[in-house]
Symmetry: C2
Subunit: 322 residues, 2 copies
């Protein structure tokens, strides 16, 4: 088989769809983007995608391109389909693997965002050379991609890795999935905002210093995830307490999942992970406190090695090598 130089990574998101031509080292040569919601049907979407990407395939040489990787919400590695994705404009069954192969004439592999990120970390990021690790994506929701024996765990029907929907606090916060107390309700961007509101309602009269977050809340009646981070950087006690609370729940959960697959590292990715030590330190502390003795000190908790800006393209491109 000929040695190919590139893959094409396509990330289909609820708002934007982005792509890039990527080489084996993870260098991105061409990128582009369209608005996912501009297309009333998946067919029109793929027709336009073809108009934009086909010239690149010609330019780089089809024989130099190993394949296409597509990361998309709820995309199933086994079937190549998306069924009723909550965050996409098109409902029903979307046969995206089949459509991509028909449009581009290139072997296409699809999976969901968290799995693509895990393979991205293994190929280009913080998990290079690791056979056992877990990526936890802390975004609007909480996802995970779990690698064991050097292979991603897809599960029986392709639905594995729903760490965000493990119940961590019985009868806890209401989750969008219909159950209560899922990890996602505490450690997603939405979850940390809920925590902030709970803390601020309690602490409005308290001595939190310098009351940055409290003042934002008083002025606007709400807080945003990035404001919690900025307040923490400014030394706001309440903001730091919010991160500590979030990290404690996340760390307890990670200690439990570590006992299942014994990863070499757990990699945090996504908006909340960008809070750096504010989230990493309390998470690591709670994880270590709750780890079984034989794992203590042996499981690294690290930040993603993928540049956030390019991570979704790199994740998708990485599965183009499969």
């Amino acid at each position: 088989m000929q040695h190919t130089e590139y893959t094409i990574g396509i990330d289909i998101g609820g708002t934007n769809t982005t792509w890039g031509i990527v080489n084996r080292k993870g260098t991105i040569f061409e990128t582009g983007a369209i608005k996912t919601r501009d297309y009333p049907t998946i067919n029109l979407f793929f027709d336009d995608l073809k108009k934009q990407i086909q010239p690149l395939i010609g330019q780089y040489g089809k024989e130099q391109i190993n394949g296409i990787g597509i990361g998309a919400p709820q995309a199933n590695f086994y079937t190549g389909e998306i069924i009723d994705a909550a965050n996409l404009p098109w409902k029903g069954i979307l046969k995206i693997k089949e459509m991509s192969e028909a449009h581009f004439g290139l072997h296409t592999t699809v999976t969901n965002d968290a799995n693509a990120t895990a393979i991205g970390e293994m190929t280009y990021g913080a998990a290079k050379g690791m056979d056992n690790f877990i990526v936890v994506t802390l975004g609007t929701g909480v996802g995970s991609g779990i690698v064991a024996n050097g292979r991603l765990i897809y599960g029986h029907t392709g639905m594995a890795g729903e760490l965000g929907h493990t119940i961590v606090i019985p009868n806890g916060r209401q989750c969008g999935c219909g159950r209560k107390g899922c990890l996602e309700t505490y450690t997603s961007a939405t979850g940390i905002v809920t925590t902030a509101l709970e803390f601020l309602k309690k602490d409005e009269q308290a001595s939190g210093n310098p009351k940055w977050l409290c003042n934002i809340y008083k002025a606007t009646g709400r807080v945003k995830a990035h404001e919690i981070y900025e307040a923490a950087v400014a030394g706001d006690d309440t903001a730091i307490a919010i991160f500590n609370y979030t990290g404690e729940i996340l760390g307890q959960s990670l200690a439990n999942v570590a006992a299942i697959t014994e990863p070499q590292a757990i990699i945090l990715f996504g908006g909340l992970a960008q809070a750096g030590t504010y989230i990493l330190n309390p998470t690591r502390q709670a994880m270590e406190e709750n780890l079984l003795f034989c794992y203590k000190g042996n499981i690294a908790l690290i930040q993603s090695g993928l540049e956030e800006r390019n991570a979704s393209i790199l994740g998708a491109a990485a599965i183009g090598w499969l």
Copy 2:
């Protein structure tokens, strides 16, 4: 490579060590046993093991034997060693793979009991043809063997699969591992006895019917795990409530681990699993209630397909094919 007919399975337990010659179908041709604690050193133990097993190797033909599989507490698949096993008479580092290969001149693979059971189920039992499943061993402790993508998950250093030491009730019962609230403290043989004592102390005056278990407790000041089962069979309300409580905690835990690896089936093995529907029904109900919608109705909860009497030999024999 020549097609071999047999493996030798050796199960080293805290009390007994048993072995057998097993063919590809799981038929056991020769079995034997020695008392593990009769040997002051591991060397004397292996010397005697050789005296017993070497004649069998001659009889069946060394060239017909694919290898030796050893299941033992805390045995590490990667290193072939056991380090300071709590349940064995010999402390320090036991190089059992190396010793077996030196004594028998046959390739030897070792792993812990729960992992051996999982490979046994895949080779000879309820998990034949499954690529994604979990075996949960409910014995003196609680162990697990997790298979994903057709391969057992050993983890980074061979310590994966400690489902029994995930914390299911924060600040719950004291566990032997030093932490509190581990699954093992509720769903092992010891755990269910603890539950029974808690229930009986509360219910001594209650209307439990026919008070079988209550009477045993009043007469002897204790109950044993098998007595709880026998009482349940006799229709004792308290005994049934004890199984329901145990199954509820187990089912909640299984719903969480199912979200990690999405198994096709979860197989219950060991003493408590032999209580059949008394433990399976409440566990299944709690698991289903707590499963994320996409898994509901799709994950089978079943009993081991290995005869309990021979299971440890079959598990060990199964890893002899690796």
